[in-house]
């Protein structure tokens, strides 16, 4: 398919281009059918319901998804945030009355909804979807049935890609401001991250010195450079007092900010990053570096990082 052109040779709606690109990236089928619908499962696909649930799973903003089967049946689900909010239409499907009557789909509707989805997405049926704006009634609904629940009940792995190992289970270490110790589990990594070399150590004192005069006060706590400091005594004492109380919490925060617990990582936190003041924090092994940066230190940080890693 030529980029920006439908299979029938008609130009795509401009808004559809990023959607097709997203589907391509996801290695899902992306064929445009007459009328603007998109074919998400061809007749040879053994389980069209997998494609249906993935469509819901990929829908974050509120949308009404109209699914049509080549059998002639169709239904419209209002979805948002990977949840099925409401069933607004069912054609050629028996047993839809309770779901249609519900103001919002809830746990008590899940079995009936699953039966409807299974009937619609029967094996050897082509399945198409049309994405429409959410109706006014759907905008006030914020509960609904999580697609992950429906997938679990149907024993479907939404993240499985043919030929690829399933991704690691998604952790839920929601950061809580000032919280003490959510369990940290490694997050999934991108292809580039998987290619990255094994974690190396970093000379934190060398990193600080390579930052230049912009780093006005700093200290290292723990590790090979433990106790090394530079800058006005009052500022260093303040940083030291903070680390004495918060070193463990800082370590947990760095775990959440990076992809790997305990990894060598450096962070800069400031109002704008390119002027004013910022807080520099780095970890390597058992050592923590904490410092105060004045002015734009963004490029200096990258240079210093490269130098300290060499």
């Amino acid at each position: 398919m030529t980029r920006g052109t439908g299979r029938a040779g008609r130009p795509l709606n401009k808004a559809a281009i990023p959607i097709v690109a997203r589907l391509t990236a996801l290695q899902a089928a992306a064929q445009i059918a007459p009328g603007g619908a998109r074919v998400i499962a061809v007749a040879s696909v053994p389980s069209p319901i997998v494609a249906l649930l993935r469509e819901v799973n990929e829908t974050i903003l509120g949308r009404a998804l109209r699914f049509e089967s080549s059998s002639g049946a169709s239904l419209t689900l209002e979805v948002a945030g990977r949840r099925a909010l409401r069933l607004t239409e069912a054609v050629g499907l028996a047993g839809a009355e309770r779901c249609l009557a519900a103001g919002a789909l809830e746990d008590e509707h899940k079995d009936e909804l699953i039966k409807l989805l299974q009937a619609l997405a029967a094996p050897r049926c082509e399945l198409r979807v049309t994405s429409l704006p959410l109706g006014p009634a759907g905008e006030g609904v914020n509960v609904g049935l999580p697609v992950a629940l429906l997938a679990d009940l149907l024993l479907i792995d939404l993240n499985a890609v043919p030929g690829m190992a399933p991704p690691a289970p998604e952790p839920e270490p929601e950061p809580v401001r000032g919280g003490r110790g959510p369990k940290v589990i490694p997050l999934p990594r991108t292809a580039a991250e998987r290619k990255a070399p094994p974690a190396a150590t970093c000379d934190l004192a060398a990193l600080a010195r390579a930052m230049g005069p912009g780093l006005v006060a700093w200290l290292v706590s723990g590790g090979v450079s433990d106790g090394v400091t530079e800058g006005p005594e009052e500022m260093v004492a303040h940083l030291q007092g903070f680390l004495e109380e918060e070193a463990e919490a800082v370590g947990r925060q760095l775990d959440l900010m990076s992809n790997q617990p305990g990894s060598t990582v450096c962070s800069l936190l400031g109002a704008t990053l390119v002027d004013g003041h910022s807080i520099l924090c780095a970890r390597s092994g058992e050592g923590l570096l904490l410092g105060v940066v004045e002015g734009d230190a963004t490029q200096a940080l990258l240079s210093a990082w490269a130098a300290a890693k060499a």
Partner: protein
């Protein structure tokens, strides 16, 4: 200019920006993304969580106490550089970016600040 186009402009101007994503930090959702990186929804979710963690305690509290509320964060690791900017007018709006180490950070940060202001203000 729409959000997708705005993000696309950044990626085009900075080829070393592998992913530029617009997020709602309050709901931990990436609402739009652009870039050459082969990235899945799970990766985008992880990126959003890293952004939230970057603007969290205890470093957030230290910054507030010392200089005021931070709206920018950099995270440098083995695998690249992550840049997170929060909108000053709409603090839940944020840009989350994954870049290569060789990127021109001062220029990039300035550009994405303009982009975020444009998105949040539009």
């Amino acid at each position: 200019m729409g959000v997708i186009e705005s993000l696309g402009t950044v990626v085009k101007a900075f080829p070393k920006a592998r992913v530029v994503a617009f997020a709602d930090l309050s709901s931990s959702m990436i609402l739009a993304s652009q870039g050459a990186e082969d990235i899945t929804q799970e990766h985008l979710d992880a990126l959003c969580k890293q952004a939230r963690a970057s603007f969290d305690d205890p470093l957030f509290a230290l910054s507030v106490e010392a200089f005021g509320e931070p709206h920018g964060a950099l995270v440098v690791g083995e695998d690249g550089v992550r840049v997170f900017l929060r909108s000053e007018s709409e603090p839940a709006d944020a840009l989350c970016c994954i870049c290569e180490h060789g990127i021109d950070l001062p220029e990039f940060v300035t550009k994405i600040r303009e982009t975020l202001d444009g998105i949040s203000g539009g």
